[in-house]
Symmetry: D3
Subunit: 298 residues, 6 copies
């Protein structure tokens, strides 16, 4: 049986125009605003997704959105550590980072993953620029716990360098290696760094691209997506344990950003092409959105 | 058998995102450029079209295009002349304009048609501002022919006032009443005025919204659209009479604008919703495009 | 008997210089300040007065004063309503404004009276630009009373467009048609609109050009001019009825502007040539001046 | 018989307004332009004239003219030289200037005459600022003739310091002491310095205030004023000796300024109050005006 | 025995580089900050010191310090008063200043001492510009005591003119003659004026160059230098008489500046070459430093 | 025998001041100018040198010099290639760069060497920022030779990103990985890249820090330094083989930069502490300087 499916409406120019017009209210809402997108290391393996990401960034820039990318890189670091004959070591889920490991972490984040993201965007248009947290004092860090070695927390964000680049029309891609006042480097959790950067920039949105559809009521049930959470609901879930332990650091990062004035934090499925565009420029709400208590429905 | 036809792709957020992404190269091409759109008086009677026009203007502004609207108003002027008990008089297709008629022309153009266009846009977002050719010395005019009375030609365009408004993010809507050095007002043909304004602004595009699909090989055959003309082909058609006499003034306006450096002039069907967006932001070429000899294919 | 009157002192260049020097303290006082001048429709029938007004505006601009003109147009509207075969209808002194009347009001104000004022100034130097309250969201309106139809009150002034034009050295001429959020137009009382604009601009002076010498103690006695009123005296007169009922709306407009921080409101005789210059740049006080309680003598 | 002569027209506010309006075209012509006024030392002895000068400067500033004063000081220098027990010595009309004399010249020019001019203006409004040719490299000098000692000619003008002060709304008062590259000071003829400064500033007018009505056909006949001279006529008179020898340096200064692009040079009678205003802002031409060949009649 | 002493380290380029590097923390500390240096009239007699001062000013400017010089001139005034056949008269250590004396004071300060300082700097690079307190309303004065004549106190500082010159990269040299609102000039104590100027500029340092090593515990013992005083210690010394009476005015000036927010006041020995540089750019503390109570050790 | 050698002169504050003053003419010469410093990978192994470099950069910044660092990294790349079990392969002295090698090159340059340089400077003051040639289109590359794989030449420099960072007071540290229009990365010779960057920035100086004293007449004789070469002398030496083959690429880079307008190229010994400061801010000329023919002696 040969069913003739009609061609997609988007083939007609008129339908295209109508799609654009439907995006208009969203476009106007975000013009001139800042959006911080955090990508997990796991999200960066598919060239098609890279291209989709690059297009999303460029399209957002075209409509006046200021976009900052922040990336992690766990899998790639593990891979390099292993290739160099070392054994990754973790304590409470955090990488134990001695001087040699720090060197590898930094090399992989700044020299490899950041480069690949920059290249993916610049392949379309040369507007991306890699920035490490050490550059121009962007991320000032302090050690978290002596037992973890050079694992740090953000104690201050000097966002002026990002503002400078954004004002110039560039799209900064940030590796989350910071430094303390003495210049010692620290490996910083990328989720937390993205949250601190979004707060320092007064961002409208903080978006986490993950490999899940969002926050799930039941982690085993992909259909149990929680679409929206207020800060107080989020706190309750973090406290009573109904949010899975694995999600706690990311949820805390969301909490802190919104607490500090970021318009909303989103946990999206980075495996879907154009998930950023869909969230920002269409009426569809995907993933989980976290907003201040009493924030209006979008 | 019950075949489930999929919903049009544009209903899906993903398809929407893909449509946006397809517009990206066009968006990037026109960012920061100026587009002058001339609307005939006849094109301004349908509220749905008004809304479509307003959306097109706002969407173009959102992606950084500087949009100037220029309007005519023949039918509305005739209507008012008649309501006031006078008889419209034409010579060689041009309105004989004595002082009383000039007063009516100006009143209708500036006080009625311009207002309606401004209102249509501002209903969506208050960015339109009416401007008459007399304002700030925008259109300096000289009389064309004593027998026609106060009918004038543009002798100089002071585009600084339009640049000021465009720089401020506003969308000027221009009525084509000009003035000579002594302050005497003149009625100016809107096609010619739009051409002179586009040239003075160094516009990328000059778009005429008409009530035809474009320039037709055979005026009786709507399917005989000429899609593209170089300046020298256009000149030949104007000279050998193969362009219908009624189109000559508009074609000459196109010719002069492109000659003066405007990227391309377009004659589009203003009765189609979103025809401006379709021309500028999709791959579809509609209507007739006039470019310099040797201009690259778009 | 043949009395030889001496020639006026101004014929001598030296006396001219002295006159200029006497204006100096006034000039320095107003440099960089904003003056809003409201002209009634009745004041705009005499070409000599038009020229005098234009010269006043240009001279004030030359010495650094930022001038905004606001105009009404009752008589001209009545005239057009009648020409079009309708009958003007008033309720409590306010024009009942149905959709058709609103269309006429707007057409006459924006398309005719505004144009004539712009032309009068631009005949001298092309610095005037017509602006309607709908342009760029200048006057946001709300309906006053359903029985009056589209008669509105100003609820918000977006003065940025006027500041933009003033910064560029232009002289805006404002027609007081406003719009609500949905884009519906409203006819707004010009006295009230001028007051709201003066307040929004932080004007130094709000000047009403009328066809009377100012506020009279006894309306029948042109010599009973009240030269100066404090806000509290003005309120008393409005409350106890000693100010004639016909003047109440204008006086209330004065009251609100000064209340909102405008330096002084003046009611002058617009039939005198150069009354604006005389008030601003000479020691002579003409007409009635309304100031805050406790304001210093000028 | 008691004839009531009307008060002079300028007493009436209306006449005042008319005088202002008559000045308008002149005001508009000079707005934003620069005028350099050179005052001789002899012109600075009458307090009433000082006040008149101050008012002229302030009024010109009020209408946007950029005013630079340059002063000499022969009589005051002679006086101080004599008080200190020395004997002024001249060669070919130029002061022989040894180190001690230079010290006195500088002290009197900068510390006394300049101060009095600054004080006269600042008594009205504190906008004057004294500047010596040595300040910020304003006047770079070279020695004229070893026999004259520290008498110098201007070899370069660094006008940026004057532009800085003028941009800030100040009125610089310049003493014409310059310096060579090694920092050695020189006494510079003020007429020549004013000419060089006017040229460097691209001034519209260079005005010499003298104690004569202008250039006279017959020096003995005050009524033989030459009202206007073209550069070629001026050269002829300088060459054939019909311009009195005493005027040659000033005439050469005029010649060089106009040659270098200054709009016109004027020799006026500084003893008349407000002679600057009369020349610039009234139709009256007083004194002698020197313009380029073929310059239009004013 | 012939011991070969090595050449001074500074002859070696490497040692030079090390000296520069040692100055780096100081340079970075003062970049963009303002330093006001007051020179006594007695400090200005030695050409070598003039050159040293000029070099210090230029070096500080090169590393981004904004330098203002303020000068006095007692000895030179006495000298001129005597040369002109008058007798200096003092009351309580203050010069009785009648109109003739004021004229001499002003002439010597502005026309002679200021000039020599400006010339000393401009001999190296033409960045100095003389400014008197009367210029542009810099120092507004009020009479101190009728018996002293035209001796004034600073009642207001209009520092905008100094900021303008500093922003332009110039080094202002200030003579402390001020004026009251009516334009009457007054002789102002230079120590007090420097203090007021430092406060108005929000200076980091106020430096007095004197002919002593600093504040001495025992004026007869040059080795009894007090290196550092807090404001409360200084007040105690001023009150209990342990600070010599002759130092009281200068100490009060220091007190008021630091009280008003100046970082520190210093009393240095102006007879030492480069004492300003040594104080600002080396680790050596010379002279006496006065700081707020609780200020950190430098 | 115990000879007491006097302490070095630099211990005395006065001598320190004199050293600073001696640097003054150099400081003034370079203020606002740009200096590009290329460091070889071999020069980056000694922490003391790192500190010396950081201090030089900060001191130069303090006196207004705009500093760009460019680095190579051959030894470190070899090291990583070997650690990862690969074998470095060269052809005509150039690294054969397949995709895997390119990945390692980029990771080491951007993620390791660049980071260490940034950290060395930021340890003193956080003003360094790492930039790769791919960022913002800085280095546009084209492949050199298919046999070499991803080895590229610079075909275009987009210096705007460096100017942006320099204007903001930052010190860019550049890794010389470039990209072609399609986004493919290439390894670019750092000597050539530094030359192209210096030319694009209109630099005053291009400095190569090497592990030799400069260009030697006889490579075996460290004392045979050539202190200065004109472009034509340099060309001759490159052509006749008297410049050792190993130096040819670096000499060609010098040649091209000076040819393109860079003031001078220097080959210095990077093993000497503060060699940059010594070259720029002292009278000592070290290393080899290459200037245009006819350039003045420094």
């Amino acid at each position: 049986m040969n069913i003739q499916v009609p061609p997609p409406a988007t083939k007609s120019p008129d339908a295209t125009a109508r799609v654009l017009v439907q995006a208009l209210p969203h476009i106007r809402r975000f013009a001139g605003r800042t959006v911080v997108v955090k990508m997990g290391g796991g999200a960066m393996t598919d060239p098609a997704l890279d291209r989709s990401l690059a297009q999303d960034v460029l399209l957002l820039k075209s409509v006046g959105v200021r976009v900052v990318l922040v990336h992690g890189g766990g899998p790639q670091i593990d891979d390099m550590v292993t290739r160099l004959g070392l054994t990754p070591e973790f304590r409470d889920g955090l990488r134990v980072t001695d001087a040699e490991t720090l060197d590898i972490v930094r090399t992989v984040l700044v020299g490899k993953i950041n480069r690949e993201l920059v290249a993916a965007i610049n392949r379309e248009e040369p507007v991306a620029i890699g920035v490490a947290g050490e550059d121009g004092g962007l991320l000032r860090a302090a050690p978290r716990d002596a037992a973890l070695g050079f694992v740090g927390d953000v104690v201050e964000v000097n966002a002026s360098i990002l503002q400078l680049l954004l004002d110039d029309g560039l799209a900064p891609v940030v590796s989350t290696v910071g430094a303390d006042a003495a210049g010692q480097a620290y490996n910083i959790n990328a989720d937390a760094a993205a949250s601190a950067i979004a707060a320092a920039l007064g961002a409208e949105k903080l978006i986490y691209l993950t490999s899940a559809p969002g926050l799930l009521e039941d982690p085993a049930d992909q259909a149990s997506l929680i679409q929206r959470l207020s800060l107080s609901e989020l706190r309750r879930r973090m406290e009573d344990g109904t949010a899975g332990a694995g999600m706690i650091p990311k949820l805390r990062a969301c909490y802190e950003a919104v607490q500090a004035g970021v318009g909303a934090a989103h946990i999206l499925d980075g495996r879907l092409p154009h998930s950023i565009l869909i969230e920002l420029l269409t009426d569809a709400g995907i993933g989980t959105m976290i907003t201040a208590d009493g924030a209006p429905q979008e």
